[in-house]
Assembly symmetry: C4
């Protein structure tokens, strides 16, 4: 693999590798630092020194973005859809994609700063913040996920939005009727009343406009209740949609990991979907303690990649990818009998005791295989690997 | 089919056809424009020009509603329950139905505007807004759905409403006790205290009435917590009820679509209910890109109606209703190998990869049929249709 | 059955009969009227006439409660646990039960009013409202249900309450640190700061106490986020607990109704639990229209008790308890072909089309029985009963 | 078992025994008393007497914490992971664990109070409250649970947090644009605008900073809606995560209890997971009434430990651990026919009628075993045990 391909994979936003995940985390942190410092730079009361430091760090962030832009342009030909295209075509295609344009916009501050004065005007600072927030949005996995949820649930969301508008306009109109005479500055026209209506319907309640007549207050109470109900509906739709979308994404991710554990290869297709939906994945850096001797154990672990060391007193043993550990605590319900620490960065699949019992009911073969392996280990390796 | 029947189907609020859905969207937009412009017309500060424009557009909207009313009256005899009735009877029946009366009320502004002055008084503007909001409510699918949810859950909602009233009156009474002396203007009587209680219980918190004694503040804290809990209960009831009602409606809709895909016709009745609950429908206009080469694919598609073109480099092929595409990405977990664009407006059923794996467990026959078809395609059509 | 037994059943709060349900509704309405009028009586600005009317109606409500108390005392021996006890024992037992004591307290106003002046003092009015709210709470089914939910989820709720207290005290203490100097009147001591903390943590936000320092505002933002999260947890716990409790109650109710429909008597025990969880019950008064010709049908109905008339043009036919109707719309997916109106008050079990298809998969025998009956009806009764 | 081991188990935070649960409750109450009294001590307006009492009780609480610390240090060698370690090692290990350090910090007030003046300064009082709140947090089961939920859902929570930050900075920047001129004190810089943004986005709405321009108010309405949506997402994630974590914990707890009931020992592994998820546990103190004659019964009970007395008129009978009662109400749907009271503290497994029917469908053998036992009892023990 060439250096360019390696860098491409490092910057690939869909990659599940830990190096690339760390890269994305770094990008987000740098981006946030930039946004915060540009914001701070708009404070009138800032001392000249602090302002100079803020401006300098902002400049560094802008420069890093500039470097990133050039790098991404350079690695663009590695994108999978470019197999038949020329390098230049791939670069132009990326430069004119949404991500490319936003990344280009994000380096405008760098160019402006390089060519101009150290102190940004308040207006241009605002523009920089918005451009960098936009760039941040393209880097955060959750934004894409929430975009999908909104697309999936668009008909329900449209229904709630319509309901919201209906209540909003009705409330504003009736409040205008009831309160226009006594408070013309707040309820003198329907658009003016709308401000009160939206502040009340979302239960924000600034208190700048408040109905004073008895009927107006009854209306107010009713609008608050409607607001709570609309909020409840919205909450239900978004929460369910988000949970379902996450479940789907997680299922595919776990499915891919399960395929790398030989232990599950004998399990038939019917059982595997059930198993996959009960496993969770977890990543550990090198040197982390997965299991501590003496703790109450409530899960067993399947090692997807990496190496762990099982240590009990003076004995120790290495386990490699595809092997499992921690099954003793589930079979015997006793405290952990060994320490397990990671030697390299590891990804494990975690099976909780409740889900283990559920599986025990539906896939008895799986459990007896685990029991057999546990028994064999106890015989051959002086009880060190059974924790 | 006569012109009248065609127009009837276009205006039918239950129809799932895309022309009729677009018609409904247009109606909602016109309605909203009307509401917003009447509202804007009540602003005192508006310039005479702007007011004239607003009044003109309002008049156009009112005229369109007038035309719509006459059209609906004309096509009323096409309604299914009118098979044995005379045309006049059907029209009278529609004119006196709830929808007919609301539509009639909505054209009063048009008649008033035609006969009267260009500038509406503030009061009549309010009436217009309410009438048009009412009309809007009859056009929005969500309102009917939420009406059903409220009817289904009425016993739970009544329980929560009673609880709300109990907390409200208790809070107002105790606050009246504790705060009447120090703040007679806000807590001087129980009805006056009720305003504070409702503002606090819904966590709106205008801040116009605030308890000042230590006991009053403890009560306030307690009322806020009760408010959060009542909101939580309401949220749970409405959200669950809405989700269940949506699930039922969606199930029936997908069921109807599945019946048009021959591929599912061999599946037995037991399996079909399971499949239906895992499919989602999606509509595309003509010329839309459903699949883009090189993207990571996470679903396959069954074409319910319309035509799509599969293009890979120089080769291309048309697929017609009843056929499926995009299965390669699910079978091989590789990026898409072709572009798929719609030639006509299309409705597709989408099967997500997670749901595909679940089905693979429960309906192995289905998956092997897809695999067989995928293999056959690869042989015969130079790999173009497998994307 | 004696008159006393009949009255007992009418007043029985657990009874599912419609007469007794209406009785409970009437009680709740009278109770609410009483509460509202006592509340209104505390308004200083009330005219003497209005006050006299309010006092009179309050007196009537109090008298009705007095009559109700005597009646309940009289019918107490009919309670099921009193089979072996004497009448006097049963009455004493009821009088000293929680319900009996609350009902006794609720008639104190009547006695006070009878013996005293027409105008109640503000303090005694408050006491009356609280006593009547207490009585109302014993009559509302939801209060008992919510009591059960709180008992079931008490460990989770305690965890959230502890979390709430921890955040509350931490926030108040830190705010006291940060803001005590600049705003001693709001943050001068920890108890004073607690008021700000609770107002912020519940996102009520009166705005009477607001942090002004930069650190104080950061703390404020954090407290708001914690408040949202605590609200979210509380919401989830209560909503899930409520839904589960409702599901259990509904299951038992439907189970009892299903036992009265002979059609389901052949279904084995395994299937019945599945069917029960898919049916919903609905009550209609006499003369109500259950199905209207020409409507789109989405459910079929099993008549648990009462009589309905099926009418199609000139033909009509009566259906009695245990029979079903509306199956045509589910089998053929066409608009309703007949009107169905209730002749007596009716209770029906409703099977939605989505649930019908689900059952069709799992209980094919059930559906073929419905189809056979539908076919037989079409032959013998000139298509009138198939709607 | 030695005294030290007994005390260890009494103080063990993972123990499910009721003595140890009561101990934890007592600790939490003492802790809360301490926190409240230190808080009250910061009130300026407190009379010298009240201050002296508060200081005295605070001292007592601090002394109790001191005693507790020494006790925990003494019993540390009983911890399960210390089997091979020396007593001193175990104590040092505990003293340097997080729990040990927090407990040590919590006794600093005691030492300070012992060595210093009776009246604490405002600053040190704040420190005490925070230290004791920290100690409280380590004692509350819910905090650990919520910690797990946050760890499990960290990727979703990070997505929502990123979304929150994106909306927050965008809103603050645009508000700064729109409102900086008219309200420089509130919107003069982006950090200043952030306060308005966070107050609005969480729908707290203090009302200290409010947009006044038309565009600013539109932005405000939009921000409120975004706030509601973010709250909804957060709510869904936390609520689902919490429910799932609770379900897992409860499953394991019930599984352990079911193992002690011989009646379930014949049930195969497949069925047991299903049964476990339908049972709930409940604890009663000695002398409590579990079932009251004449009540409507909706559950049956399996006695896990303790003794209950069944009494019907003059007959009575004792039931011991492993036996069940209350099955009559489920089989016959009639009111309870006997009183059941606990003789000792009891733990029971509760099977609700709805879940009983569900099981009846899936595990017919279980129900017939219950019926057979019920029949046998009716024969032999004059119907006393069947309630």
């Amino acid at each position: 693999m060439t250096v360019r391909a390696k860098i491409y994979r490092l910057l690939d936003s869909e990659s599940l590798e830990s190096a690339s995940q760390r890269m994305r985390g770094l990008e987000v942190v740098i981006n946030l630092i930039g946004i915060v410092l540009v914001s701070v730079g708009t404070l009138e009361a800032l001392s000249p020194n602090a302002r100079a430091i803020a401006a300098f760090i902002t400049g560094v962030v802008a420069f890093l973005f500039f470097v990133e832009y050039l790098t991404r342009l350079w690695v663009a030909p590695e994108a999978p859809h470019s197999a038949t295209a020329t390098s230049t075509n791939s670069r132009i295609r990326w430069a004119f994609s949404i991500g490319g344009i936003i990344d280009l916009l994000a380096i405008i501050p760098a160019l402006a700063a390089a060519s101009g004065s150290a102190r940004l005007g308040a207006e241009s600072a605002s523009v920089f913040v918005l451009l960098w927030v936009l760039k941040l949005a393209t880097r955060v996995a959750g934004v894409k996920l929430i975009g999908r949820v909104i697309r999936n649930e668009r008909s329900s969301l449209a229904a709630v939005a319509a309901l919201f508008l209906i209540v909003l306009f009705s409330a504003a109109t009736i409040a205008h009727w009831l309160e226009a005479e006594s408070q013309p500055q707040h309820f003198g026209s329907i658009p003016t009343s709308l401000w009160w209506a939206v502040v009340t319907l979302t239960t924000t309640g600034y208190g700048d406009a408040v109905p004073v007549s008895a009927l107006g207050r009854m209306l107010g109470g009713l609008v608050m209740l409607c607001g709570i109900s609309v909020l409840a509906l919205l909450s239900g739709i978004l929460a369910n949609g988000f949970a379902e979308e996450l479940r789907r994404r997680e299922f595919v991710r776990i499915w891919d990991l399960v395929a790398r554990v030989p232990f599950f290869s004998d399990v038939g297709a019917i059982a595997i979907a059930d198993i996959v939906s009960r496993l969770r994945s977890r990543s550990f850096p090198a040197g982390a303690t997965v299991i501590r001797e003496g703790e109450t154990g409530d899960s067993m672990f399947f090692l997807v990649n990496g190496t762990v060391m099982v240590r009990r007193g003076l004995f120790s043993k290495l386990l490699y990818e595809g092997q499992f550990f921690g099954e003793m605590a589930l079979l015997d319900r006793k405290p952990r009998t060994a320490d397990v620490t990671t030697q390299t960065p590891c990804t494990v699949l975690v099976l909780n005791v409740a889900d283990f019992y559920h599986l025990a009911g539906q896939q008895p073969g799986l459990v007896s295989a685990i029991e057999a392996e546990a028994k064999r280990r106890r015989m051959t390796s002086v009880d060190t690997t059974t924790c």
